[in-house]
Symmetry: C2
Subunit: 478 residues, 2 copies
């Protein structure tokens, strides 16, 4: 704690030194290493402007589907998160024990949502939540993967009729990706109960379902031979079991595949598989009405990492050929998790079934950021810059500024008493401020100012009395 | 970590158990304590809707003054925060050492801003930042003080002419409080260099300036006798020194007080006091033009807790007589801190002077929440609810919903296949959804639906082809 601890007094330039700090000549010469923590970044004004536009689009779709929004603390009591994430739990950031409760930073927004639903005894809610989550992962910064990153989740909790909420989540996901304009995508679809049933049919012991599942989940990145090796050597499955699994997990298709699997000799005998296939068939029917069925690829290799899913699972994957920009991979995903809320209340009979979708805004954001060529996009909304033509006018500038602000007009000026006119006008052009009001003594004596249209450099004289009215009438945005 | 660690599998209702977890019959029966961490809260839909309106107002003023926005990580490297907050440092939340850098949750937005400015070698920036900060304080929940809370900061960094940026910060503060409509307020104003000069004039030893300052800071809550006792008994000041201090810190007034102090025999001889009084005089002049001078109370007892201030300091205090609602106390504050950015770069000659204001949105929010009586304020933006009049219509509902969504109309329906009409209409009334489209077989056969205005319960028949057009034309909002 001592090393690099700058003890320079910042209280007074003259050096009024606090009595509780020790001056250490070494640390004064050694500046603090100025960086953000590993795997994190600052968002500067340009990144924020881009991000805000993206989030507005995402929220627009969530609200179009009637969702409310909630917020939860950035940390949870450790026991709330414990045992929810399987192997991934090692990536949870914990807070130091400084007395009191043991806390950890949230790992996703789903578990805090389930805690919220359980804690408030809600029987149904449709909410979105946009907030940062934390994972002590090895970040792949180039692909937009950080240790601190935004999640945008839309979830529907409540006991409803089969697949109606699920299909809406899928529709929301598609609408957002279309709205954002991120390029072509397909929606991989599978069902946890079908995975279970398939493993049962292939002879995987029940207690290994989950670990086999997480091996299968690697198929989007690793070739079959690698996964096969893991299943045989690490998980100890029989080779014929693994070969049977292969037959299934290489399957992908549409409704016809659902029907083919429903006739499959081995799966026929497994109730959970049958149930799952009925779900998937109904989902296809609803998706057809919602005009998203043609994007769906029923894909038996989709497993999704997290433990809590219990029903349909889906993931949107970019398929554009511009791999360098898109980096391939998933941009949104989700599924049904019917037991998570109940796991917080084992004594309460009632489960609160849930289904949701998480939009990978960080991926979307880095894709959009990479292809945004317009370096001059605005980061402020200033409408008018109040400039002095020469010295001695700063009080008049303040007066005009005050009038503009009172009228609700977004306005700026130089914080120098005698700024150069050229510098002021350059600022307007760089910042793409639409108008400059130029104040000069001669004009003021006649009760007028110059209004300059920055883009065209056209100038006209205006009476001070009509200034506000004129600016308002020229606003491009309503 | 073991206690209360729920190991119930949430993966599958049938109980596929993960191999890496141990079942513990005790922990199964003992549910997780469902609460948010001490001093934190969830924001439900109503609170979020209110909060969003408040933040929109605040951001509106920030943007009216030409500010950009940035975001920084929720945690910083520990050495970035170390030594910046004086005694308050003990309230910083630290992260557990899990390998790698030592991290701590941000305590305010000012130090991360200074780190950002220094790290990016910026010479000037005007930004706002709205984000949560963390303090291991004893929270006073009733007064809206939490351990996790929002800060809304507006800061201007850059070497400019005296008091021009400072006055704008003060103006921003006043505009926001007026816009939010939080009631009558005054702006207490002081200057760190005047406090220094005053202490020097009273005979306080230089090395005690800061600790005397923090004793004076308590005067807004504690009576003089208590502060006097602290100064004499704990800080060991001479009684006559303390009596001299009293003469000053009980002074408050306007420009006339500035002039009186400029003639004060003792202060006259202290250069820093003179400089400070010139600053305050200029600030009054500018505030007069900005029409906020009459709110300012030049108050020599205002000291502000944080170490880093170096120039003018200010604080907005509510003065309404409705103490129960407002709780008295400060709702916004800020000041000039010219050495903070430089303290990160002691080897670099150039200082980046800064001035800023922080809006106490949590206080404002709890005041507004307390007086919001309208329990029926909306938490969603749904425009149309698509209802079935009877069984067998859910597919038609999905079809109509899809058309509405494609047209950008915010629409919902029941996730039940055969919902009761009454239940659907009650939902519309409770949620204040303006319109319901009621789908019935007879009407559909004729190519029409019923459009019901929920508030008046008026119903009319509309052709399906003109439905979207009609709804659009009736939108209250543009």
């Amino acid at each position: 704690m001592k090393k690099g601890n700058i003890t320079l007094s910042s209280y007074s330039a003259e050096g009024a030194i606090s009595s509780h700090k020790v001056f250490d000549s070494k640390s004064i010469k050694e500046p603090v290493l100025l960086k953000t923590p590993k795997g994190t970044r600052d968002y500067g004004p340009k990144a924020m402007a881009l991000r805000q536009r993206l989030l507005d689009q995402v929220v627009g779709v969530f609200r179009k589907h009637g969702a409310e929004t909630i917020d939860t603390p950035v940390f949870e009591r450790k026991e709330v998160l414990a045992g929810r994430y399987g192997d991934e739990a090692k990536l949870i950031y914990e807070l130091k024990d400084q007395g009191g409760e043991l806390l950890a930073l949230r790992y996703d927004l789903t578990v805090p949502f389930a805690r919220y639903v359980g804690m408030n005894n809600l029987s149904n809610v449709k909410r979105y939540h946009i907030a940062k989550v934390y994972r002590r992962d090895n970040p792949q910064l180039a692909r937009g993967r950080y240790r601190e990153f935004y999640q945008c989740d839309f979830d529907i909790a409540g006991a409803y009729d089969p697949l109606l909420p699920d299909t809406e989540c899928l529709k929301v996901m598609c609408e957002i990706l279309l709205e954002v304009g991120v390029g072509e995508f397909v929606v991989k679809l599978n069902h946890r109960k079908l995975l279970d049933g398939m493993m049962e049919a292939c002879g995987v012991p029940t207690e290994q379902f989950r670990s086999v599942c997480s091996a299968i989940d690697k198929l989007d990145k690793a070739p079959w031979d690698e996964v096969r090796q893991e299943l045989v050597e690490q998980k100890g499955l029989a080779e014929e079991t693994v070969d049977r699994i292969r037959e299934y997990v290489t399957l992908q298709g549409g409704l016809e595949l659902v029907n083919r699997l429903a006739d499959d000799e081995k799966l026929k005998c497994v109730p959970s598989a049958k149930e799952a296939l009925n779900d998937v068939r109904l989902l296809f029917e609803y998706c057809n009405i919602f005009q998203v069925a043609d994007r769906i690829s029923f894909d038996l290799s989709l497993a999704r990492g997290l433990d809590y899913y219990t029903g349909v699972i889906y993931e949107a994957v970019l398929v554009g050929d511009d791999k360098q920009v898109t980096g391939g991979g998933s941009v949104a995903g989700g599924g049904r998790y019917d037991n998570l809320v109940g796991s917080f209340k084992p004594n309460r009979k009632q489960q609160i079934p849930c289904v949701g979708v998480s939009i990978g805004v960080e991926r979307l954001f880095s894709i959009i950021e990479a292809r945004t060529v317009d370096e001059r996009s605005r980061t402020t909304e200033t409408e008018v810059y109040v400039a002095s033509a020469h010295r001695g006018l700063h009080l008049r500038r303040l007066e005009i500024l005050n009038r503009l602000w009172e009228a609700g007009i977004k306005a700026e000026h130089s914080y120098r008493m005698i700024p150069k006119l050229l510098v002021q006008l350059q600022y307007c052009e760089e910042r793409r401020i639409p108008y400059a009001v130029i104040v000069g003594e001669g004009e003021l004596a006649r009760g007028v100012v110059k209004l300059r249209e920055v883009a065209t450099r056209n100038e006209e004289e205006l009476s001070l009395d009509t200034l506000i009215e004129t600016i308002r009438s020229r606003r491009c945005v309503a």
